[in-house]
Symmetry: C2
Subunit: 334 residues, 2 copies
DNA sequence: TTGTACGCGTTATCAA
DNA sequence: TTGATAACGCGTACAA
């Protein structure tokens, strides 16, 4: 592959001149510039991004750390980042971390080796301090979907407690009092916060959500099916279901329908996230919108803004997003 | 950030020695090695991937070019690549191309600037020759979901004609004769090939699929809804629907149900791809499995295998995959 | 076993 | 307007 040196030799000029042409620098004779450009085209010259990054100390790439690309939620997140990266002519370095401390750590580490100055990381397994340390090493380190006090100005997160409250509120406002929940068995903050919001609201309204009315399982469709099956097996009476997320809701819904229970006529159900399938499934899922793409976009812009000299230091702002209720067809008035 | 030079200075040894330690090279005294490792840890040393790539002429990364990460199909593809990359400790560079010639071209070009020696590209807009040219420049250039004779040994593709035939065959074998299709309006090979397979089979069995029984729209859920709406509006009689893909099938199904037509009791419908939603939607979609993750995995392995010296040149083999029928609940016997 | 010195492709500084 | 030349961080013959 032709290098700047080859071009210079063929053109009979120095490296410096070619470099100026490449970077549209000033102080180059018009005809020289034209001739060099011509030669570059002919020889199929392509600047070497690695060499550039080396000398410039700034990489033209943004790193993304997520758990699993095959999960629609993360795919959407990645897509948001990718979108703004493309606009700014920036490369995306993708690392999956699978919600295990070790892999998450390694994913960030690898990005660091590539001298990423900007990264959007979704980490659940790493502890606060580790993340704070990383943040201090990377100018454009942005944490998405997590809040850490000490680096609040680098966190783009969603208020899951409010989200949980919203779910409960909607069901209760329609007269539902006998509730069950298909919950995530992961002991991380998202499930905890949502459940917290739900409980807060119910308590205020004197409605009970007994511990045995909650079934914990994996946060996917299968988990939803299993959890619902268990709930049904226990013979608990209920008119509405709170699901940890849309996938579980969908699974639970299938299971209900398999037992000849109609949604929403017999049983109402509400999801969380508003991923694609919420609109695909039948009936369309009433759910809580988690504005993840918007957040990812914001996170990427934020991360990249630190690359620019103007090291935007509005430590004052915090990037908290609030989920909203999306009414569709899976919940009905009692 | 500490460099190899800093380590050498602190340790009181030469650069070469440190370099040897880093690369687990031989010929280093045990205690020297231990001491240097200690210092590296203390100083938080991290090798500079850019510098390495520069001197080694081989980047430790694999490029991926796809249309749109938010599309489950592409997300799954990307996931497949990412999986094998992680196993081999390789970074993934992601570029979206949005099925436009210019962006696809630019995406590949950018990857080239990063000196990617391996890449998995999904391109529909670029012409054969351009792709062939790229393939000759990149040792590990693998085309996924497309077949070009001249670089057959670099193509990992699926036999969409057989896929199309499978769809038609399944419906016909259950007695369906009045068929309609919700098709993709994109004039690229996938839709064409599938339609081709369908037509071949129907012709052999003397069943007609009139041009006005086909509605073309965007290959997503909304497109499926619109296409079905048009079909319904035209008052065409039919007992079964062929959909370009699962998303369109899902949209069409919604529209049918909105018109009080039951699936599969009144109308049967068959999709294509077998993405997640095929199992999520209700009734579960009978569809054609497009083994995209498997293919992506294979493509990535292939691409990466060229990085190794043993430039595996089995130009004989071609990587053709055959789709299979997945029976679920959206098709019934007439 | 350890060190010296050069090169990888670019950019940037300073002269000319 | 152009050209030498020194970095950037690392790997590696070759020498010691």
């Amino acid at each position: 592959m032709a290098t700047i040196k080859d071009i210079a030799r063929v053109a009979g000029v120095s490296l410096a001149t070619v470099s100026r042409v490449i970077n549209n620098g000033p102080k180059v004779g018009d005809e020289t510039r034209a001739r060099i450009k011509e030669i570059m085209k002919e020889m199929g010259y392509r600047p070497n991004a690695n060499a550039r990054a080396l000398v410039n100390q700034n990489s033209t790439s943004i790193g993304v750390v997520i758990a699993d690309l095959s999960d629609p939620f993360f795919a959407t997140l990645a897509h948001g980042v990718e979108k703004v990266a493309r606009q700014q002519n920036i490369q995306v370095l993708m690392s999956s971390g699978s919600i295990e401390a070790e892999t998450e750590f390694k994913a960030i580490e690898t990005l660091l080796e590539h001298r990423c100055k900007a990264m959007v990381v979704h980490s659940k397994a790493l502890d606060d301090q580790t993340l704070i340390d990383f943040a201090s090493q990377v100018p454009g380190f942005i944490l998405i979907n997590r809040y850490i006090e000490a680096i609040a100005d680098k966190c783009v997160w969603v208020d899951n407690v409010t989200g949980g409250r919203l779910m409960a509120e909607h069901l209760v406002s329609l007269g539902h009092k006998k509730l069950v929940m298909v919950a995530s068995k992961h002991q991380i903050d998202d499930p905890l916060a949502r459940l917290d919001g739900i409980r807060q609201y119910l308590k205020q309204n004197n409605i009970e959500l007994a511990e045995n009315a909650i079934e914990y399982s994996t946060p996917d469709q299968e988990g939803g099916e299993i959890a619902m099956q268990n709930l049904l097996a226990k013979g608990i009476e209920f008119t509405a279901v709170l699901a940890y997320n849309d996938a579980m809701a969908s699974g639970a819904m299938s299971m209900l329908q398999d037992h000849n229970l109609r949604v929403p006529e017999d049983i109402s159900i509400i999801g969380y996230d508003d991923v694609l399938l919420a609109r695909y499934c039948r009936p369309k899922l009433t759910t809580i919108k988690y504005p993840i793409e918007l957040m990812a976009t914001r996170a990427a812009e934020l991360a990249l803004s630190f690359n620019a000299q103007n090291a935007e230091t509005k430590a004052s702002t915090t990037y908290k997003y609030t989920p909203t209720l999306i009414k569709r067809d899976s919940v009905s008035k009692l």
